[in-house]
């Protein structure tokens, strides 16, 4: 029986004007475009300078900031109000205000103050921007002090040299971080969404009821719905791996077979999840809304964008029930760290658990009669 049902599913799939293209085009565009968009790098912070001192010191400070590469001077104002207006219009992110007599105060009174006002609507950007700026000012301060204290024993000022090193991703390329996770997002969409929508659509059309009066067992029926999407899952994954290699130059440090193994488990589990939703949804609108809610929640809680470790404790707890979290960890670890199955045992257990749980639930909750 399975054979006839599969024949039907594949025919319907390929006859659909939309779906076959989706399975190829969606992963392609997602992996081509989204890594470009997903860029948290804080570069080119727009700085508004209010230099009321106009002294050699203040000028050389501004030059030093400009030379750092992090900042772009987008606005030069003569007072704070003007500068604030440029922040309000998003022309600038940070205001550096150098008060009058800055140089004079520094030389005569050994102290001078500066004002940094950062737009902190985006807390990270505001925080990092001020941290960079403070760092540059501190360096500048050290230089100035050296100049001014040349007569003193300047060896006594201790200097700590900090050498940062970034493991696994020395150049801190953002796409290295995003690409493996985006693969998961695409897989979740194709393998979770499509089978659920397919079933709900048959519910609405009444064809599912027709199936329910046949002797087809629910196990066979469910299998016939899922099998095609497992196949498409591999197509999607292969397209993704291709794009990662040829466009982003990313090849997993670990074994490709490990990736296929874990993706199989994930796809099994996630398509089961889609089925559970379709069993409870009465129509497409409901199914879609439920899936959207769950998929978005799963994605946001999976660490795709923001590290799970940064979340509040309760959110971290919830994130444990997101299958996406585990598979994203797996892909990142295999791609970047070269981890093998032995490093990924917790994830293996979790994904096997999800697959059993969701598919078990799907079979149990499927009712041939009400």
């Amino acid at each position: 029986m399975l054979r006839y049902l599969l024949e039907k599913e594949f025919k319907q799939f390929f006859r659909n004007p939309f779906l076959p293209r989706l399975v190829v085009i969606f992963p392609l565009t997602a992996l081509l475009i989204f890594p470009l968009a997903a860029n948290f790098d804080i570069e080119n912070i727009n700085l508004s300078v209010v230099d009321q001192d106009k002294s050699p010191f203040s000028k050389s400070l501004v030059q030093k900031i400009q030379a750092s590469g992090y900042f772009r001077i987008s606005n030069v104002s003569s007072n704070f109000q003007q500068a604030l207006a440029s922040v309000e219009s998003d022309e600038s992110d940070i205001i550096l205000e150098i008060p009058p007599n800055f140089e004079k105060n520094l030389v005569r009174e050994m102290r001078a103050s500066l004002m940094i006002s950062a737009n902190a609507v985006n807390g990270v950007k505001g925080g990092l921007g001020t941290a960079y700026l403070s760092g540059i000012i501190s360096d500048f301060n050290t230089n100035i002090r050296m100049q001014l204290t040349q007569n003193y024993n300047r060896l006594k000022v201790p200097n700590l040299e900090i050498l940062p090193l970034y493991k696994y991703n020395p150049q801190l390329l953002y796409e290295v971080f995003m690409v493996p996770a985006l693969m998961v997002m695409v897989l979740a969409m194709v393998c979770g969404f499509l089978p659920a929508l397919n079933i709900v659509n048959e519910k609405e059309q009444g064809t599912l009821e027709q199936m329910n009066v046949t002797p087809v067992s629910k196990f066979t029926l469910i299998l016939s719905k899922l099998l095609p999407y497992w196949v498409f899952g591999y197509v999607v994954l292969t397209v993704c791996i291709g794009v990662a290699l040829f466009v982003w130059g990313l090849l997993p440090l670990g074994n490709l077979a490990v990736i296929y193994l874990f993706v199989t488990l994930f796809v099994l589990g996630f398509s089961g999840f889609g089925l559970v939703v379709s069993n409870y949804a009465a129509n497409t609108q409901q199914a879609m809304f439920m899936i959207f809610f769950f998929v978005l929640s799963f994605i946001f809680l999976s660490g795709l964008y923001t590290p799970v470790a940064n979340m509040p404790d309760w959110a971290q707890l919830i994130s444990n029930i997101s299958p996406l979290k585990y598979i994203i960890e797996v892909l990142r670890m295999v791609y970047l760290k070269g981890s093998g199955v032995q490093d990924l045992l917790p994830q293996l257990v979790a994904l096997v658990g999800f697959a059993t749980f969701f598919n078990g639930w799907a079979v149990l909750s499927y009712r041939k009669r009400g």
Binding site: A112, K167, F177
Partner: protein, 366 residues
């Protein structure tokens, strides 16, 4: 209006759908408002300290005392570095060489190595810069204790505008509102209209003597109402649960939201006027609306960091403009003049989309 009533009945009778339309946005704002955060708090770090002297202890204490870091433990030799990172438990490893303090005193220079897990470049660079500034602070302290008072000191006063405590929710809430409204308005409308097309009931309504404009209105008004309910609950939640204040005028915020809702509904209409099948309507709204909003609108990633081509694309996403407007009014507390551009762009988009979809609807009639 009988048809509007009918549409309301559809939604209200369907208790499940009703519940979802009202409850899910609530869950979303809570989940995302609290959950999505790029702030670093209590990040686990480890130490490889070959000196174990006053200076290294001083630095470790300072790192530990900050909100950013929590000490996971000590690594005893270099061979463990690899495995510590592989397990993925720590984000940062601080390495002090031998005779750290002695060197510092004798030569005035000492080296500290920071190794960060670069898998997540954002977290890595943030951790490194936080650690750096903490170490610099310690250095200042050393200087200060060495000599009485540091000469020639520049003291920066830092002021964080709009969001002094750097709450992540200030940045995510406007984006999440933009996403929820599109989800309800554009997606739900397009799916419900295409459903009627699929079922054939649309034709029955279309052949009735009702003018097409009224038919469209009757389909749209219930979703308009629901999105206003959603807007209210979401705003209430962000103020009272997430503590994101509405600094500017509430009415201005509501006004610009209404404009955005209308644009979203128009988008829903446009999709349903072009598409015949529910499934296609759904996929188009999912892949064509929701994903771009998540990725390109500035909800997650700052638009100004994107390559020029994508920045251009982002200009066509209504949510991008709406998010800027909400940030300006709600968080910065600015007036109408600050969102004039956003208002113009959104109304322009709304007008164009509405005109096209109305035309398409009429063609179907003839």
């Amino acid at each position: 209006m009988i048809f509007t009533q009918k549409e309301f009945y559809h939604i209200i009778r369907d208790r499940w759908t009703m519940m979802m339309l009202v409850a899910l946005p609530v869950l979303m704002i809570i989940l995302f408002g609290f959950g999505i955060t790029t702030e670093i708090k209590n990040s686990q770090f480890a130490i490889l300290d070959l000196s174990r002297d006053v200076a290294t202890q001083g630095i470790v204490n300072r790192l530990e005392a900050s909100d950013y870091f929590t000490l996971e433990g000590y690594v005893t030799n270099t061979s463990q570095i690899e495995s510590v990172f592989r397990e993925g438990k720590i984000g940062l490893l601080v390495i002090f060489g031998q005779d750290f303090y002695e060197q510092l005193v004798r030569t005035g220079e000492a080296q500290i190595q920071l190794i960060a897990d670069g898998t997540d470049p954002n977290t890595a660079s943030t951790l490194v810069s936080y650690a750096t500034s903490i170490i610099r602070g310690y250095q200042q302290e050393l200087t200060a204790s060495d000599q009485q008072g540091v000469p020639y000191q520049i003291l920066p006063e830092v002021k964080l505008l709009y969001n002094p405590t750097m709450e992540g929710a200030y940045n995510t809430v406007p984006g999440v509102i933009g996403m929820i409204l599109i989800l309800i308005c554009a997606m739900m409308t397009s799916v419900s209209i295409t459903k009627e097309k699929e079922m054939g009931t649309m034709e029955v309504i279309l052949v009735s003597p009702m003018p097409p404009l009224l038919i469209i209105l009757s389909k749209v008004i219930p979703y308009f109402t629901i999105s206003i309910i959603n807007l209210t609950t979401v705003l209430l939640l962000s103020v009272f649960a997430l503590n994101v204040p509405i600094v500017g005028s509430l009415w201005l915020l509501v006004f610009i939201s209404l404009v955005y809702i209308i644009v979203s509904l128009a988008l829903g209409l446009l999709i349903s006027s072009v598409v015949e099948k529910q499934l296609v309507a759904l996929l188009i709204s999912a892949m064509g609306l929701i994903l771009p909003i998540v990725m390109l609108s500035g909800l997650m990633f700052p638009v100004e960091n994107m390559p020029i081509a994508l920045q251009v694309v982002a200009q066509f996403i209504p949510a991008k403009w709406y998010i800027v407007a909400v940030k300006n009014v709600m968080i910065k507390g600015l007036g109408f003049s600050s969102i004039l551009k956003e208002f113009m762009v959104l109304s322009g988009m709304g007008l164009i989309i509405l005109t096209i979809s109305l035309k398409k609807f009429k063609i179907r009639l003839e």
